[in-house]
Amino acid sequence: MSRWLLARIALLPLLLLAVSAGTFLLSELVPGDPVDFMIGENATSERKSELRAAYHLDDPLGERFVRFYAELLSGELRSLHTRRPVIEILAERLPNTGRLALAALLVSALVAIPLGTLAARKRGTWIDDSSMLVALVGISVPSFWLGPMLIIVFAIGLGWFPVSGADAPGSIVLPALTLGLGMASILTRITRASVLETLGQDYIRAARARGLSERTVVVRHALRTAAIPIVTVLGLQLGALLTGTVITEEIFAWPGVGREIVQAVRSRDLPMVQGSVLLLATIWAVVNTLTDVAYAILDPRVALR
């Protein structure tokens, strides 16, 4: 396992190099001059040229590419607009995104695993049908609708939670529910399918034959085996949550990485976009590697080679 893990880790720099090169080239192709966003049109062409020269925007592509890596590695990659190091800005935002992602994942797991297990246990009954209907509705409701609805009911109507922001007590609840409930829908179906498959196994029948209680059979034996696909999906969901909570962050004014990237793209803050995408790619790669490691821990039959 350690050799496998080392190989995966050794591949990371290559992956990130490819991602950063792709991001750099793609952001160069996007229409829109960063200088226009910085100084507007009320500027002479001389002033614009001056600013472009100051930020090396007119240098040959190859030179800029080398400079990008030099600045990135020295921590001197700076936002065009704020002139602050990109790493410093992202370091401020990432904990917020991480907090929200973990809370959403918790919501997703707390809803989906019991619901999916129950649906599997009550297969073919109204409980199963209802669970799957709930999952279908959950997956069909977009977060840009669910978020405001949760605000109207729980923040305006009942006054239980803040409308938006990240600084008041309980402010994480509604954005976590918005993200978590959508993800729970997929996880519920995965859990149901996986538990159903496991419940048909011989060792489950043997466990029942030994007189173990149904709760012990399901929770201790069936769920442990069924957990592999569940963990896979949870891992993917965590990656998606860490990198793709843009809409929810916008709705709930949650100061995370997603909002920062959207703002950077809108204002053509190229170093900010490039640095952010690289960070997100790193997160994805690390989360995926950790998910693979979790397989082996959960199920010794899965050998990491």
Partner: protein, 516 residues
Amino acid sequence: MGSLHIAGPGPLAIALIASLLLSCGRPAPPDDELVFLIGSWPTNLDPRFVPDAWSEKIAHLVFSPLLIRDPRGELRPHLAESHEFASATEVIVRLRDDAYFHDRTPVRASDVVATYRSILDPALGSVKRLSLDAISDVSEVAPRTVRFSLHRPHAPFLQVLASIGIAQESEILANGTAGDVLWTGSGPFLFEEIDTGAHLLLGRNPEWFGGRVGVEHVRFRVVPDATVRSLELLRGSADITQNDLPPHVLDHLSASPDLVVETAESTLVKYLAFNLERPPLDDVRVRRAIAMAIDREAITRHKLRGFATVAHSFLHPDSWAYAGDISVLRHDPVGARALLDEAGLPQPADGSARLHLVFRTSQDETAIAVAKILRRDLAAVGIEMELRSNEWGVFFADIKQGDFDLYTLSGVGINDPDWYSFVMHSDSQPPSGANRELYDDATMDALLEAGRSTSARGVRATLYRQVQHLAARDLPLVPLWYQHNVTVRGADVQGWEMTPGGGIDALAHTSKGAGP
């Protein structure tokens, strides 16, 4: 097969959850704190940078500029006690003697000189430098007197003095050109807490030269979504927002007894631009026909819910340079069709369009909704309008390159009539300005240059009235409407006053409840 038993929550758990929920909701802000909602984070509050509108507005509360705009939009002394044109190229500014920085050191001429020189230093890389193009030198004449020398006569120069907040010389020297944020100003508020991307807390400056500040704290909270901003106001967890909500939401908020929706005229003008390089838009009759086809009264009344007034000039009727006798274009589809016929664009017998035009706009929902109405209005006179809506960066890059027949944009902060130079002087064609319609008229250029070169207001007024008449005759752009400034505030917020430019300087005198 036994059943799977899931234990229900006991009374203790329910009580715990209930008490947790009751403690969660964001409480209403205290009386000594005003919560101001904004849609985007101010990117750089250093007064030498302030690259966006919110950065500039908020920085002005901390770093007082030499001049300020009153509620009528007129410039008046602020950190300056007086200012005068000593000659056509020399402005003398005297500082007031009761102005102190937040650390109790007096504001001196050397601070003003250091601020302006820092911005003029190319090494700083400040985008503000372009607005100081007219300055050849800034120097200290006496401890409280500053001289601005200009390269050439430049009447709009005083606008510059109202746009740059003064920082402390010692802090500027200590920070060099690193572009790090400066913190010490002399305004009504001082920085207390910054949580990047989330909120910014300003505290009262007890020694402010402008008098007692209305509230102890102003908290700017960033809420990007307009619907959520309106919900925050309805909930009472925020006190005020300005120009950040769409018209249909404003209607809804007006119905709340706890909120006040206030409007005031503004200097923001929505306009329609033609590409004069693309026939038949090079024919003024076609441009006039298009302008006459648009029912601006109906759009402002219904789509914009009365939060706009039809415009006939880029200058507001309250401006000292407004031409009251300017020709007015009214909605006249019959006249528009006749003009198109006259221009050689008859309606085809098969009922197809006589003209196909590409209209460019951003993805702003109100802009798209208005564009759809324009499409309907133009269809009524036989013009087929293809609507292309793009993300702002793409839209802006395309119209700069001339990839459009028509587009609409807003002219922001039209405080001085020299703004016409920006959109109609032939030297302002891209990449050096916003004359994207590529209008080129020698008379217009001469009038604009003359207007900029004299500081005599009477002379300037005469020149700019001619400019407005010429613009109305040639119609390279059609001013559509003045977008009102709109504030939504709690009913207990007092002392708030709007300015035509949408500034927030009035926060210094705004309070809640019974007042200070």
